[in-house]
């Protein structure tokens, strides 16, 4: 071993960093070289000093207050997660409830459009006939003459005191809306009919004038 090699590994004598053979070579060189021996002595003294310093700090640990602060921070970090999670659950349930309410209201609205009110279902003939005869002129003929009327399907026998007879000009096809069969050939013809109407406005019977019955009789 020369001086350069000694300066490189000679100061590691007594440590695990060099092999026993290298340690022996370093010791041999130091015994023959005064300069390297002085370096080794100087380093031995410094190493002794460092050992004192190392001993003084060997058992050093962070004070307990550090751990306490860290645990506080850990709890503080954990809490917002729980709050957010709880808030998220509440928000999710709220949204779900709101969506359910909207769905129910929408369905009810749609359902009510699909099915018209019961009163309208019961009176299709009246509505249609009145709409279709809106252009026609309606004339009250008599309150008591209820003879020779053809009762409309589903109509109840009417008392002559409570019914009214209107002369109405309408297209023959409108008789179909009242539930009567109509010959398609003269469906667009304008005819004059007497309409027996109950007090509640529902038509109860119809009587064709002679000219109308001759041209296109009701079947």
């Amino acid at each position: 071993m020369n001086c350069e090699e000694f300066q490189s590994i000679g100061l590691d004598v007594g440590t695990r960093r060099i092999t026993p053979e290298e340690q022996a070579e370093a010791a041999t060189h130091a015994s023959t070289c005064a300069k390297c021996a002085a370096l080794a002595d100087s380093w031995d003294a410094a190493r002794g000093e460092l050992a004192v310093f190392a001993d003084a700090t060997r058992s050093a640990e962070a004070p307990a207050r550090v751990q306490m602060r860290l645990l506080q921070e850990l709890r503080a970090q954990k809490r917002p997660h729980l709050v957010y999670r709880r808030g998220g659950v509440i928000a999710a349930w709220g949204l779900a409830a709101a969506a359910a309410i909207v769905a129910i209201v929408s369905w009810q609205s749609w359902h009510s459009k699909e099915k018209p009110p019961q009163t309208r279902i019961n009176l299709p003939a009246v509505n249609v006939s009145l709409e279709q005869s809106s252009a026609a002129e309606a004339v009250l003929i008599a309150d008591e003459d209820t003879g020779n009327f053809t009762p409309l399907p589903g109509a109840l026998p009417i008392d002559s005191d409570t019914g009214a007879v209107y002369e109405v000009r309408m297209q023959r096809a409108s008789l179909g809306a009242l539930g009567l069969p109509v010959n398609e050939e003269g469906a667009s013809d304008w005819i004059n009919v007497d309409l027996l109407v109950a007090d509640d406005g529902t038509p109860q019977g119809v009587r064709l004038h002679e000219d109308a019955s001759q041209s296109a009789p009701v079947q």
Partner: protein, 197 residues
């Protein structure tokens, strides 16, 4: 009953979910070595305390910063600690407050008292050595701390410093030379003081 040993990364995962027991175990495993390294590098118990606390705060706030593919949790923590120490030394290269001078370096009072004079002398010596170590440039100081005080091998010290073994050997060589000169100076002052020259 023997408590099953859990790996650091398992503890970290549990700690990230807020489990205090897991975090406490992880902290107990690593705090002392990190604190010692920081204390020896900065020479200041206050700085060491602050840095170690900061490192574990990072672990609490950003546990996902740890990547198991890059190494073990201990190495990860040491890496953060080392960065904090180097930044601290850059910011205040020689910042040792008067309060620090009165702080026992170990953070603990001696358990057995020989004589007050012995402890006074020992304390003075320790402070001189600490000053000599702290007077080294940070890279040399780190090599001395890791290889001489922590007694790590060159390989371990190189891994911790994140540099090649040759660099560590070179830094240690120069650090030793500076340290010997500094300590020789102290011893010379002491000799002159004792002989009255």
């Amino acid at each position: 009953m023997q408590v099953p040993y859990e790996r650091d990364d398992v503890l970290l995962r549990r700690a990230a979910k807020g489990e205090e027991a897991a975090f406490t175990e992880l902290y107990r495993r690593h705090q002392a070595s990190l604190y010692r390294y920081t204390l020896r590098m900065t020479g200041s118990p206050w700085s060491a305390e602050e840095i170690v606390q900061d490192v574990f705060m990072t672990l609490i706030r950003q546990p996902k910063k740890y990547d198991a593919n890059k190494g073990e949790v201990g190495a990860f923590l040491f890496g953060i600690t080392r960065n904090r120490v180097m930044k601290h030394l850059e910011r205040s290269p020689r910042e040792v407050s008067l309060d620090d001078e009165n702080q026992p370096l170990s953070g603990k009072e001696p358990a057995d008292l020989l004589t007050p004079a012995f402890w006074a002398e020992r304390r003075e010596r320790v402070e001189q050595i600490r000053d000599a170590v702290l007077s080294l440039p940070p890279e040399f100081r780190e090599a001395v701390v890791l290889c001489e005080l922590e007694e790590l091998s060159y390989e371990e010290a190189a891994a911790k410093s994140g540099c090649p073994i040759g660099t560590i050997r070179s830094r240690l060589h120069r650090g030793r030379a500076l340290l010997m000169a500094r300590l020789e100076l102290f011893r010379g002052v002491q000799r002159r003081a004792s002989t009255g020259d």
